[in-house]
């Protein structure tokens, strides 16, 4: 049993907003403060002198004994953080009304308490309420995820924007140099797009762009990296894809575009696309050289009369 303490020390121990439990080498409880009483409903007088585990079934005994082992053997503190395990003691949240978590998030510090002979004969378990930090971290993470999406995505089409597409393109370029897998890039442009805008207005033009983006998304895999590169220009990166397979994908997009009818107000519009393909080759020393090859092929497709797919040489 713990030695009697002066009243003010007891008051301190019991008013602090940290859970304090002291146990001996057999995990018998020697100290159990008010914070612990209030959150667990277990009275200090009931638990003191008894092993802790039967009172708290949520504690995985083998796991906890394993955590405490270095505290006893090495005389060092051990920390368990809420990111690793939400709680040691399954307590309700300290603010039952406005907290968004039902249960308390806890940081646990397990401290060695040495006897005069230098042996660790007791350990002190400190329980810190981290619920607010955990909740605000969750909010920040969620916001960051949303921001990430916003900063990566083109508002009109929902495809990646040019900046992020290029970032991904450069990353894939570096990976490809190392792992030697086939990969192809497509540059795609809507034929006579200026005429659509001039005849039917920008909103109609936007509708065409959106439709094509939708067709591209349907024609590609989830692992393909599709971006809106400029006004009516799109770039598609096809990992694990050689020229032949890339051509199948490109032809699919070309054909469905040709057949697709865009309705804007009462106007019905058709459009076609030209596509340039370049499979990666080690002679492309920089990402932009590779992309330039696809762009040259696209240019040739336009020269040859549009609505077609051309390979880079």
């Amino acid at each position: 049993m713990a030695v009697d303490k002066p009243a003010w020390q007891n008051a301190l121990l019991n008013s602090i907003e940290v859970g304090i439990v002291v146990v001996d080498t057999n995990f018998q409880v020697e100290e159990f403060n008010q914070f612990m009483e209030n959150h667990s409903g277990v009275q200090a007088s009931d638990i003191i002198g008894k092993p802790i585990f039967p009172f708290f079934e949520e504690i995985d005994q083998a796991w906890f004994e394993n955590k405490c082992q270095p505290v006893f053997s090495m005389n060092t503190p051990v920390f368990v953080i809420w990111e690793q395990r939400q709680y040691l003691f399954k307590f309700g949240s300290s603010r039952p009304i406005t907290s968004s978590s039902d249960y308390m998030y806890q940081n646990i510090t397990i401290l060695p308490i040495c006897a005069n002979n230098g042996q660790v004969e007791r350990i002190c378990i400190l329980v810190y309420d981290m619920t607010d930090q955990a909740m605000s971290k969750a909010r920040v993470d969620k916001l960051n995820d949303e921001l990430k999406v916003i900063s990566r995505v083109d508002g009109l089409t929902g495809l990646y924007n040019r900046r992020y597409w290029q970032e991904r393109f450069e990353r894939e370029f570096k990976l490809t140099i190392r792992n030697n897998k086939p990969i192809s890039v497509l540059m795609l442009d809507i034929d006579h797009f200026k005429a659509v805008n001039d005849t039917h207005g920008h909103q109609a033009g936007d509708k065409v762009i959106q439709s094509l983006a939708m067709l591209i998304r349907k024609a590609t895999r989830e692992t393909d990296i599709c971006g809106r590169y400029g006004g009516e220009e799109f770039a598609i990166l096809l990992p694990d894809t050689n020229t032949e397979t890339a051509k199948i994908v490109a032809e699919r997009i070309r054909k469905v575009s040709e057949r697709y009818m865009v309705k804007h107000d009462s106007i019905e519009m058709h459009f076609t696309v030209s596509i340039g393909i370049a499979e990666f080759s080690p002679e492309y020393k920089r990402p932009l050289v590779w992309l330039e090859a696809a762009d040259q092929a696209l240019y040739k497709a336009k020269e040859n009369g549009r609505n077609q797919v051309i390979f880079a040489e």
Binding site: M74, T76, E83, Q84, N107, T109
Partner: protein, 351 residues
């Protein structure tokens, strides 16, 4: 004739500390070597009948030196003096013919009892005069301070390695600690064990005493966390939580043991801060940029731990702000002297 004794250690601080703890009554002629190569030459010149040999050294380490002594059948009785006190280190050296093993920092009562056990010296342990003869520091140049901290780190690293070896049940390869003063934003350049191209996870724990405040950082490449997690025998599945658990387990042991060794050598008691996750699966740059906002000079002790049998490596950085370096150094000198006084005070009771 005085007995030729050789002290072989790469740290001049450690060589002096060793020389200071030789008993006053022992009639010896002390020579020094900074690595195994120098030691072998000294032994051949007849200056190393007894050798105190460190393990972790550049050029030629303790294991290689012992091997050379055995192969060439050189006349030297070797007592290993090391911060690395793993069982495997001990048995490797003993099997090659070392007569005993003594833990750094040197306790000269223990040293005397070893000497007496082998019939080398049987007198008083007191080393007060020796300590007066060999001053710990000849100046206070920054190189000398770094040298002293390297030795402190060496001892701390060894104790932490020993504890980790017990828990992982594997031999931990210990490097020579890398100690330097850099700007805080250049710290990432010191990371010899981290592959910058791969994702990284990191834990930080602050430690506070009235004179010295600092931070211990542990950094892993994520591939290593997974390997370590298996080694720790986590029976849970490979979820993110259990990766954090592996990270925390290793951090608790390494940082805890290192700080214990530091506080012992500096005679300070640290308050340990609850560790935080600096980043999980991040770019190293992201971690550095997001977390190091102050641009100041820091003392960095870099220890590149490895479990080479499992292809695992990770980094421990002990970082102390520039303004605390002098305080830490003077604590170190004070506690070195205090330790010797208590030891020579206690030996009357012990013997």
């Amino acid at each position: 004739m005085s007995l030729p004794v050789l002290i072989c250690d790469d740290s001049s601080f450690a060589r002096k500390a060793m020389a200071r703890s030789l008993p006053d009554g022992w009639d010896v002629d002390v020579a020094y070597a900074a690595n195994g190569e120098e030691a072998i030459a000294q032994i051949k010149a007849g200056k190393g009948d007894i050798m105190f040999l460190d393990l972790n050294m550049p050029v030629m380490d303790g294991y290689q030196t012992m091997e050379a002594i055995r192969k060439q059948d050189l006349p030297s009785m070797v007592i290993v003096v090391s911060g690395d006190v793993q069982e495997e280190a001990r048995s490797r050296m003993m099997s090659m013919g070392a007569i005993d093993f003594i833990r750094k920092p040197i306790d000269n009562a223990k040293l005397t009892s070893i000497l007496s056990k082998y019939g080398i010296y049987d007198g008083e342990a007191s080393a007060e005069n020796r300590a007066k003869d060999v001053s710990i520091t000849t100046g206070s140049s920054i190189d000398e301070k770094l040298n002293a901290f390297r030795e402190v780190a060496n001892v701390a690293m060894g104790q932490a390695g020993e504890n980790l070896a017990k828990i992982l049940n594997k031999f931990i390869d210990l490097p020579i600690p890398n100690v330097s003063i850099v700007h805080s934003n250049e710290m990432s350049m010191m990371l010899t064990n981290i592959d910058m191209r791969q994702s990284v996870s990191a834990v930080s724990e602050g430690f506070v005493s009235p004179t010295i405040k600092g931070e211990a950082l542990i950094l892993f490449n994520d591939a290593n966390v997974a390997a370590l997690q298996q080694l720790l025998g986590s029976n849970t599945k490979m979820s993110e939580t259990s990766e954090i658990e592996a990270l925390m387990d290793v951090s608790n042991i390494i940082i805890g043991a290192c700080l214990n060794a530091l506080s012992q050598q500096l005679s300070v008691t640290f308050t340990h801060n609850t560790p935080i996750l600096l980043g999980i699966h991040c770019d190293l740059e992201e971690i550095v940029n997001n977390n190091i906002s102050r641009w100041e000079k820091v003392l960095v002790i870099e220890i590149a731990y490895a479990v080479s049998s499992e292809n695992i490596s990770f980094e421990l950085l002990l970082v102390i702000p520039d303004r605390d370096i002098d305080a830490a150094f003077s604590r170190l000198l004070m506690s070195q002297q205090a330790m010797e006084i208590t030891i020579s005070g206690e030996q009357g009771v012990d013997l």
